[in-house]
């Protein structure tokens, strides 16, 4: 059954829940589930309401705007699959996990294309009859390569861009082209081991736990709002390559879980953090 997700972000004021639920009641909508969060430090209010019923989106929004503070954000999404484009480099584990989920019908998304700066994933992607674009970065200035990637992305339908171990640092220009649309998996428990070769760093530091972090990409490398994290235990027997291998299972599960939250419209960005409702 078609469900709609009403997403509201506004400054907290008395009577908000009352006023919003009144409008929904007057529109004769059913509330399937409802979740709110108020950040008591910043007085920011977040609400995600799953509704069923018939309504005119423009009218509902207008009615909500009347009772909400100005500058409130209102978004209405639904439970149909969203389109995504995946960027990857050479590693198969994250990409493969999404391809299998997609094939099994377990991904709440259509993968419309996979783009890579290497050719090695072409065979895997094409097995699943998904367009693969190979855009080598060799002998190209970073910006030029990114322009080609942006053009390639724009050929396809997408709501989000998923970096499934895309091992290129993105310029501010690239990031700003797709604000809060780029989801990344970083192979460390951020903010530990920012930057290159986190498993080597982790091995060097002698940690007993390694992790992975999925986050929105912003201009600041590895500093965007965190959506999901998980960990696994290691010990002195692990070489850095063993850590990398063990980390792959964590990376693919964290990315897949974060993407699932995004696709279900459960992730609000709140400054440099996320609110998951």
């Amino acid at each position: 059954m078609k469900e709609y997700r009403l997403l509201i972000e506004t400054s907290d004021t008395k009577g908000l829940v009352y006023n919003i639920s009144k409008i929904l009641f007057e529109h004769n909508l059913n509330i399937i589930s409802n979740a709110e969060f108020v950040d008591n430090e910043t007085d920011e209010f977040f609400m995600r309401t799953v509704i069923t019923g018939e309504f005119e989106e423009a009218i509902l929004k207008k009615d909500l705007e009347k009772v909400l503070p100005i500058n409130s954000k209102i978004k209405i999404s639904d439970n149909t699959k969203k389109d995504i484009v995946i960027l990857a480099t050479k590693e198969m584990h994250c990409l493969g996990d999404l391809l299998i989920k997609h094939e099994a019908g377990e991904l709440e998304a259509n993968i419309t294309a996979v783009i890579s700066n290497h050719e090695s994933l072409k065979g895997l992607v094409e097995k699943f009859e998904i367009p693969f674009e190979y855009i080598s970065h060799e002998n190209l200035p970073r910006e030029e390569h990114e322009q080609k990637v942006i053009q390639a992305i724009k050929k396809y339908s997408f709501e989000y861009i998923v970096l499934a171990k895309y091992m290129r640092i993105l310029t501010a220009g690239f990031v700003q082209t797709f604000p809060m649309q780029i989801l990344n998996i970083h192979h460390s428990f951020l903010p530990a081991f920012i930057g290159a070769n986190p498993y080597k760093q982790a091995h060097q530091r002698g940690v007993k736990i390694i992790g992975a972090t999925s986050h929105w990409v912003t201009n600041d490398l590895d500093e965007g709002p965190i959506i999901a994290q998980d960990i696994t235990r290691v010990d002195h027997n692990y070489s850095w390559e063993d850590m990398r291998d063990a980390g792959r299972n964590v990376e693919k599960v964290v990315l897949s879980n974060a993407l699932d939250l995004v696709l279900k419209d459960r992730v609000f960005v709140h400054g440099n953090k996320t609110v998951i409702l």
Copy 2:
């Protein structure tokens, strides 16, 4: 600041959130946080709202009753510390953990008494100037011993009874005297290893993870609604005593976390399950 917790459990009907929030709005109350859950299988609705402001409890309840289905449960609690009585046997780890938290002012409860069927914990409890009642079960029929324990409990003020490794099986009579007021810690990952010596059972079975479960006590041994669970990893190097020792850390943390949820009025009982809001 004094906060009130409005707890509502009712059957789901259209406009519930609207109607409830309308009453709160009309009473001029501030909503600090709000959480709801609808069980779509049973159409049961649960809501926990934290409010501040001045109100007459009787009038607020009456006004809420007017807009809620009959047989709705409405409870208003607040954030003052609740009294608890602890029952224990010989082991110190769960009891000690609660005593230290109590001493540190980190427990949202006053421990009004500790009751045990052994005398060995007397020294520990009395260090903290908390009444200790020793009620031996030796040479007593189970019911008679329990009557003495019930009488001892009733000498003290309590909202909940915490079984901090109280190693006696309770009769239906005992349990029914304190319905959904008795919180237990079971030293296994329920429903695995119900009954006696779960660590020996776990060792025998060769599991790679052990756990602990905190639950409400009902007539069915180890079958009451689960509030919290946690686990820790073990391997072939662990004797059953090693599992027991490792399990103690899990037991005390799980009991403490479950109790914290209970004391914050976050635990609803829903059939044989809990809803944590």
Copy 3:
């Protein structure tokens, strides 16, 4: 570089490590790593030694036999990839995970065939150019179906048979055909929720954590020696289908980790338990 794994299981006696290491020293072998375990209850001794160097297997074994108690088990394996046959039914997540790892060269095994009692996985498997055998169980007595499966398995080279969510109960006859060669993934935290529909059982019981267990298949359903387990957290918001979906990530990682231990010859069977060295 070629490494050999010397696996010894025997009854504990004084001087075992000395006597074994003496033989290895005399054969001029390098010890890369060495792990032992003595079960002090049963006085059983387990040792896994990774060695490099040149040796005659028959002579080394004979020399070891001279210094070990009679009835000692000595096995020499190496780090070349082992062949496996996978059995599956309809679900893609475990099978898909192994296929991707295989494709990426990250599996220490060659998948020589996939056999299923349904046809739906054929498309997926054949993408990877791996033989797929469809052997329907419909209108066949259990034993007759199993005989067909056994014949199909025997067409291929295999050291282990991996049940990647093969949803058929196996007869004693089948199990005895491949003793301690069949690895299963059970979709619960065993011994909780033995039998059918563990996620429905878990949902019904209201647990706060779900898990998965990989174990050797023996005659007793879901009772074989456990190799690996892991868990994930759930709450009242999870329907049983949500638990199943969340559980899939755990299942595939647990199966993959257990298989990795098996392929590295790190798993000893010890009664109804495993010793992982």
Copy 4:
């Protein structure tokens, strides 16, 4: 029964296990358990052997030295309780946890004294009849305060000094007085959030998991060899104070587990890392 722990650290050479086990065999000692680790990068060899039997320590060591490379480290410890001195500041959770374990006889150590720069823990410590020394840091230069603390420590018997949330930065002079004898608990998942107020930092960064780290104290703040780490999950509902409260359970368990490893002589220092055997 009295058990001895033979701890050997040396450079890896062919025949080490053979030569060591030969000596033990010739001394007619029983090996209860044996664990080795070779760091293949640095060719460093670590071995922990638990033995029973009668022997002259000086002779055994001398015999071992004959077969080991020069500059090998040989240490023989046993399973009698070791003395420790605890340093704390104001927080009760880690100290209280150790006091309860001590009282229960579950700590493999005698707490000979607790020293604090505040007076507030005096009451708690003296309940357990353990000497408490209050050494205020007010109006004292750091070095002078430390000298007083060092003098206080030296009044008591100790093998290790446990910083149970001792909130003072130590000078190099202090650390060098007790090399690899000072065990700390840091309230973050190191190397994330080094320095002051890690929970505020974690809250600010919006992490989804917080942790704690127990490590040897070296001259570099929060950079010493890590012994144990653990984590717990948080979300947007957690204020930094909620994170601190949730973190306390992790801190006390991690410190207690790390101390247990230390007391069982299972922790080897290997550069800036630990090897746990």
